[in-house]
């Protein structure tokens, strides 16, 4: 009986690992496709990390815009990460995860700006919070939050 239980545990582990790998990869690819598409569409919304806007905008009209996303790692990536911890070095799985989340947050901020009719965002800040939950063995998840001041180009310039 004990042997059976052991067997079941291993099977479940391998099943979750495979599910995480295939489904995670599929979802990641789909997400990247949608990110690239929307980045092209929103290329007209300019973002600046500078503190003040360039001279060509009308600063009278401005508004805070923001975008946020909570993203979580998958089972496979977490397993690989725990192995990666032994030898150190770069871990691409989490790099792409955070890259996706960051670009998504920026895109949502741009969408927020465009909905309100703005085409320029200055003073962009990006904030990253880990919300692992503190539980033992909890899956790491992150919140990426991007915010900035949206402005309108003045009628004379551009």
């Amino acid at each position: 009986m004990d042997f059976l239980l052991d067997y079941f545990e291993w099977a479940l582990f391998l099943f979750l690992l495979a599910l995480g790998f295939f489904a995670g990869r599929f979802l990641e690819r789909r997400h990247y496709r949608s990110i690239r598409q929307r980045e092209k569409k929103l290329a007209k919304v300019l973002t600046f990390a500078t503190r003040f806007p360039p001279n060509l905008v009308d600063p009278q009209d401005c508004r805070l815009v923001s975008g946020c996303v909570v993203i979580s790692s998958d089972y496979f990536k977490q397993f690989v990460a725990s192995l990666r911890n032994l030898v150190g070095g770069r871990f691409r799985g989490y790099e792409t995860l955070l890259d996706r989340a960051r670009r998504e947050a920026i895109l949502r901020m741009k969408e927020d700006a465009r909905r309100a009719g703005y085409y320029l965002i200055v003073n962009v800040k990006i904030e990253n919070t880990s919300i692992a939950g503190g539980r033992q063995g909890a899956m790491p998840s992150f919140e990426l939050f991007a915010y900035g001041t949206a402005l309108k180009p003045s009628k004379h310039a551009v």
Partner: protein, 107 residues
């Protein structure tokens, strides 16, 4: 409510600040829903966006901003500049979201 100007720039170029009224802030502590947490833990297997949490954070941030604006209006400001946000995990399933900035009167 939104006749007040909110920006994370330190000053608005071209507009003079008549007077500074000091710092204003708004915060909220939100806990996550147990049912949604179970769904999220399932979502953890395949990874990706946790929509329920995104909504939660969004709502919390809006509320924090609203409280900050309320405070700014009550002291007679017409703008809040240099707005910043911070997030801190308070306990296992709860987070505090704080929005703060400087309340000013613009000409």
């Amino acid at each position: 409510m939104s006749n007040i100007l909110v920006s994370n720039m330190e000053m608005i170029p071209g507009r003079r600040i008549k007077s500074h009224l000091g710092m204003v802030q708004g915060s909220t502590v939100r806990a996550k829903h147990a049912g949604k947490d179970i769904l999220a833990s399932l979502k953890n297997i395949v990874g990706g966006e946790l929509k329920a949490y995104t909504e939660l954070m969004q709502e919390a941030r809006e509320e924090a901003t609203e409280r900050m604006i309320e405070q700014a209006t009550s002291i007679g400001a017409n703008a809040v500049l240099n707005v910043r946000y911070t997030t801190t995990a308070v306990t296992m399933g709860a987070a505090e979201i704080l929005a703060y900035g400087t309340a000013v009167i613009l000409e």
